[in-house]
């Protein structure tokens, strides 16, 4: 074979090896970039040139503005939190014996689709604390810090017997002296909400050195009985807290028993005011509206962090393993604390890896779509909107290819800095 023929053979071979890739890349990746740029200057159906109108609409219509604003929130919070968590996990796993098991647990969500992860988190975010894990956990905390009262929603049976204190509690309008009694009747309590240990209410018995009273459900099954008086079949309300105040200061507190009675003993002579503090009327925890307009985006970002922390951890751990042990050792021997070593040695040495992880996440976050579509309920999708979701809805929902193309071009412009970063890094590495 002559030299020329060989070279010609070679270039044929090059063409054959490259052709399938170049055809696919050209038709499905490169050509669409140019098409989208051109198409973004035409109207919805492509029949009329509209100049920059689509871009104008993009930056003025509320739907796209919300999407852009949310993407900004995503970019500001998600990549930095994921990278930070990945770094912490990577450093800490070096100190445990079961690091492989830990890494598998954290990394596993990476293999799960955004769709299934979204379903998983939507279950967690159910508003009812009996159904959603997030609110069940929040409810467990709330019930310790602010336990629900015994009388949520209850009203005094006689308007004049108790008046509001202003902070949600109730107070008896007239003060009482030693030996006197008080009776607080309540209605608007569903029968099943009365504690099981409640028994027939009894009249308060005056004591010598104190004040006594009864808190009871002023309603008998069947509707017999007179408001304000303790009648047969009317039950006491146990567990209600009552405070006695003298000159505005709390001097004693008592809790009602199964028959509704409470008593203050050992009070000095004088006039006392009785008060039922607001805690008695506190409603039980109803659940945080995670997927409501205010919290939906942070809630979805949490699910994203759950998925991607493993990626950051694994890549950073590989970077960490490449740091010579002696370098870390030397700074420890120099008397550096663990924190000092971490901050002054580990993190600077890992900086290039952290940058790669961060940039990868930024690119990824800009394109977030599935998670928002799946987790945000229909009613919250406008509040949780992101560019990629709005693009899909614009292009394939209302079939406005002009605005859709403008959104696509905008998305492409946003990743250009990342493209520059990649190219720079590649050239530095390859030379």
């Amino acid at each position: 074979m002559s030299d020329g023929a060989q070279r010609r053979g070679r270039s044929w071979a090059v063409a054959l090896f490259l052709a399938p890739a170049l055809v696919l890349l050209g038709a499905i990746v490169v050509y669409p970039i140019f098409f989208s740029v051109g198409r973004s200057f035409f109207d919805a159906t492509g029949s009329e040139f509209v100049g920059a109108e689509n871009y104008q609409e993009m930056f003025t219509s509320p739907a796209t503005l919300t999407a852009i604003k949310n993407n900004l929130i995503w970019v500001v919070f998600a990549p930095s939190i994921v990278t930070a968590l990945g770094l912490v996990f990577a450093v800490l796993t070096e100190r445990i014996a079961w690091s492989t098991a830990f890494k598998v647990a954290i990394f596993m969500p990476m293999a799960i689709s955004f769709l299934s992860a979204g379903v998983t988190w939507r279950l967690i975010y159910e508003q009812d604390p009996d159904l959603g894990l997030a609110n069940a956990a929040a409810g467990a905390v709330v019930s310790v810090v602010r336990p629900p009262g015994e009388l949520p929603g209850a009203r005094p049976s006689e308007e004049q017997s108790l008046s509001p204190t202003g902070d949600g509690g109730l107070t008896a309008p007239e003060s009482l002296g030693i030996g006197e009694t008080a009776a607080f009747g309540f209605v608007a309590i569903p029968p099943e909400a009365v504690p099981e240990d409640a028994v027939q209410a009894v009249e308060p018995a005056a004591t010598d050195g104190g004040i006594a009273g009864t808190v009871w459900l002023d309603f008998a099954p069947g509707g017999e009985g007179e408001p304000g008086s303790i009648d047969p079949d009317e039950r006491g309300l146990p567990g209600v807290e009552v405070e006695a105040l003298a000159a505005g200061a709390v001097v004693g507190s008592a809790t009602s028993g199964p028959d509704g009675t409470f008593a203050f003993d050992g009070l000095e002579a004088g006039d006392y005011e009785l008060r039922l503090p607001a805690s008695n009327f506190r409603e039980p925890f109803g659940g945080i509206s995670w997927l409501g307009p205010a919290l939906v985006t942070p809630a979805i970002i949490v699910s994203y962090i759950w998925i991607w922390a493993g990626f950051a951890m694994v890549v950073i751990a590989a970077g960490l393993a490449a740091i010579p042990r002696e370098t870390l050792e030397a700074s420890r021997v120099d008397g550096g604390s663990e924190w000092h070593v971490f901050r002054k040695v580990t993190v600077p040495l890992l900086a290039p890896v952290l940058a790669v992880v961060f940039v990868t996440l930024v690119i990824n976050v800009l394109k977030v779509f599935d998670l928002v579509l799946v987790i945000a309920p229909g009613s919250a999708q406008r509040d949780a909107n992101v560019i990629a979701l709005q693009l899909w809805k614009t292009a394939f929902g209302i079939r406005d290819f002009g605005l859709g193309s403008a959104l696509a071009v905008f998305l492409l412009l946003l990743v250009l800095p990342a493209m520059a970063f990649n190219l720079k890094r590649f050239r530095a590495e390859d030379s």
Binding site: F17, P20, L25, F89, S116, V119, L373, W392
Partner: protein
């Protein structure tokens, strides 16, 4: 960073001096406790979905999945029986397989040919062309949805499985070529030269020398593409039709009334997860290598 898969694999840790072991022991207690909590927090969501998927709709409407931990009789196979009796779910599962397998095989064929050319063939414009491929790594696939939808309309590929497959292959190519080329470049020069000296054609060198040696990277690529395509929702949402929709699209159809359909959604989502999880556990090493090769899609 050295985050490119190389034939030698990852760097190994040196032996630690005694003082470092002492420090490690002192900080081990709190770290262990903290990481144990983190690991539990990370596992609970998946466990929640799994347990929910074995409960009836009535139970799921009544109480959280954790109720089944104290009342294990709630657990039933019925949701899965119903699910597998649902023709839409079954056919969409088949579609997922029909989309994912060809995508994973085709990308290996196309990318390894191109990667070989970029790594071992000399031609004009090679470096520029490869830089373009690296640049394309980050192009959001959203850019191509509208133009390719029109293109497919003309070609009759819209709503077909080959259409979905070709889209996945094309958008997987920049990463695939990048990954394989960087691996192929690391193959010892002498091996190729020796084969060429013996008069082997480029095809022979490629198929007999480079492909067998490149298997680890090819495995990474296949697993990556497999998970990517299996888990895709957006591309299928746009390009697949009613008859060709994969499982993800079928599940998404149910989401409109989430609470009412939870007895379908939870087992279907778990079914959707099982295959990628199995692949992940079986081929973890290759998956991690693929990730370390700087996936930026």
């Amino acid at each position: 960073m050295s985050a490119v898969a190389t034939p030698s694999g990852r760097t190994t840790k040196g032996t630690e001096p005694r003082s470092s072991r002492l420090v490690a022991a002192l900080t081990r207690g709190p770290a262990t406790a903290l990481l144990a909590i983190v690991a539990i927090v990370w596992l609970v969501p998946t466990i929640g979905l799994l347990v929910s998927s074995f409960r009836t709709a009535a139970d799921n409407a009544e109480s959280g999945w954790w109720a089944a931990l104290t009342a294990p009789t709630q657990l039933t196979l019925q949701p899965y029986k119903d699910l597998l009796g649902d023709p839409t779910i079954v056919s969409s599962f088949v579609n997922t397989v029909l989309i994912t397998l060809p995508s994973s095989l085709l990308i290996v064929a196309v990318a390894s040919l191109a990667a070989y050319a970029f790594a071992w063939m000399r031609f004009r414009g090679r470096d520029v062309l490869f830089l373009i491929v690296v640049g394309l790594l980050v192009v959001p696939l959203q850019v191509a949805l509208i133009p390719v939808a029109r293109l497919y309309d003309v070609l009759g590929l819209f709503g077909t499985i080959p259409g979905v497959v070709l889209f996945h292959v094309a958008f997987g190519l920049p990463f695939a070529i990048f990954l394989l080329r960087n691996f192929f470049v690391g193959i010892p020069h002498e091996l190729l030269e020796a084969a060429r000296m013996d008069g082997a054609s480029e095809w022979t060198v490629f198929s007999r020398v480079v492909l067998p040696l490149g298997l680890p990277a090819i495995a990474s690529l296949m697993i990556f593409q497999f998970l990517w395509v299996w888990n895709d929702l957006l591309v299928a949402l746009v390009f697949a039709g009613g008859e060709t929709q994969p499982l993800t699209v079928a599940i998404r159809e149910q989401l409109r009334s989430f609470s009412a359909n939870i007895d379908v959604i939870a087992p279907a989502a778990f079914l959707q997860m099982i295959v990628p999880l199995a692949v992940f556990f079986a081929f973890q090493r290759y998956f991690v290598q693929g990730l370390l090769a700087g996936s930026q899609r």
